[in-house]
């Protein structure tokens, strides 16, 4: 017999859906707040996107973003919101792993752990540029 999706599965999916939506809402609010702040204090020529220079380290590393946002830089606040957004699916994968663990589905705890390790590697391995 093929194992059907259990009711616990679907309740858990609804929980995951809410988790994702909450993450997106928080991220969007942070980005919006930082954006209003950024636009209210800009003067002169706009940022140039025609030639690629790369975003400076203060806005492209985790440390730089946290320090900049804490120090009241509007652009760093936007990046902080984007970090929350990137972290949202990562949190979803983490909770999925716990969910499979509660069902004692060790094969899928393993599968989910692989995905989680790949995501964390992408976020934190500083040699990947």
């Amino acid at each position: 017999m093929s194992p059907a999706i259990k009711p616990t599965d679907q309740q858990f999916e609804i929980f995951l859906g809410k988790l994702l939506r909450t993450g997106v809402v928080i991220a969007a609010l942070i980005v919006f707040a930082g954006g209003v702040w950024f636009l209210s204090e800009t003067h002169g020529a706009r940022r140039e996107y025609k030639t690629f220079r790369g975003v400076p380290a203060g806005l492209s590393s985790l440390d730089g973003i946290f320090h900049g946002a804490a120090g009241g830089q509007a652009l760093a606040v936007i990046q902080l919101g984007i970090l929350v957004l990137i972290a949202t699916p990562v949190a979803r994968v983490l909770f999925s792993m716990l969910g499979f663990g509660l069902e004692r589905d060790w094969m899928y705890v393993g599968v989910t752990a692989i995905v989680l390790v790949l995501l964390l590697y992408s976020l934190f391995n500083h040699s990947t540029r």
Binding site: D9, Q10, L20, V24, I86, V93, V115
Partner: protein
Amino acid sequence: MNTVEFTLVVAVGSFLAGMLGSLTGLGGGVVIVPLLTLAFGVDIRYAIGASLVSVIATSSGAAAAYLREGYSNMRVGMFLEVATTIGALSGAFVAGYVSTSWIAIIFGVVLLYSAYTSFGGPKEPEKGLAPDGLATFLRLDGTFPADRVQGAAGGTSGARESYHVRNVPAGFGFMYVAGLLSGLLGIGSGAVKVLAMDQAMKIPFKVSTTTSNFMIGVTAAASAGIYLRRGYIDPGLALPVMLGVLAGALTGALILPGAKVKTLRMVFGVVIAALGVQMIFEGVRGKL
């Protein structure tokens, strides 16, 4: 244009892209990069960074609605995410070594393929297939709500229809390609994911679209970390793109019941095809 005007104009363009993307089911990400590069002269690397952010936002934002309906298959999603995340990481690595002209050309080809799928519409895979050994071992088979009587409210009480998943290795391979394109181009790769799930793995259409939406956010997050460190994600550009696409996608979902989806898919298909041709053209000329 000053900063405020530029931000507002990009936000309006992103709003329209997000709305059309959600109405047609093709995703907004696929037009964000051409919009930013062709219409606003933005370097394709910044455009890809901003697009990737908007893809995570719409996928995660829409998941709540999809998951409540009980169509998506968590085991299929998670198993295939191994392939898409590895693909996304390889795509993000490769993007650092491929010239922007080639990225524009590959992007154009993917746009043309997306346009093609928006005209044909995917065929519903055949039903009543025998179980597959590997899929059974991986416990990928599932059920989904059977067609309900019209007008009946949704819910979990209805009967469920079961299905068997087939061709797991082929689906896994296609998903690697979907992840690779997502990481290379900053898009959700919905069209390739559907190819993997309904055409190769014979998963019912509604199950494959909802599961694929669920997977897109994770795939995009895998390459977003790398792009952030490379300096592709500019806050001044991500601001209007992310908020615009998100607001557009939500609006699209609200007006979807009354929309002429078939006509919209045709119109959007023509737009995407035209953008695809132009991306290839500009890529060959080395202008992007």
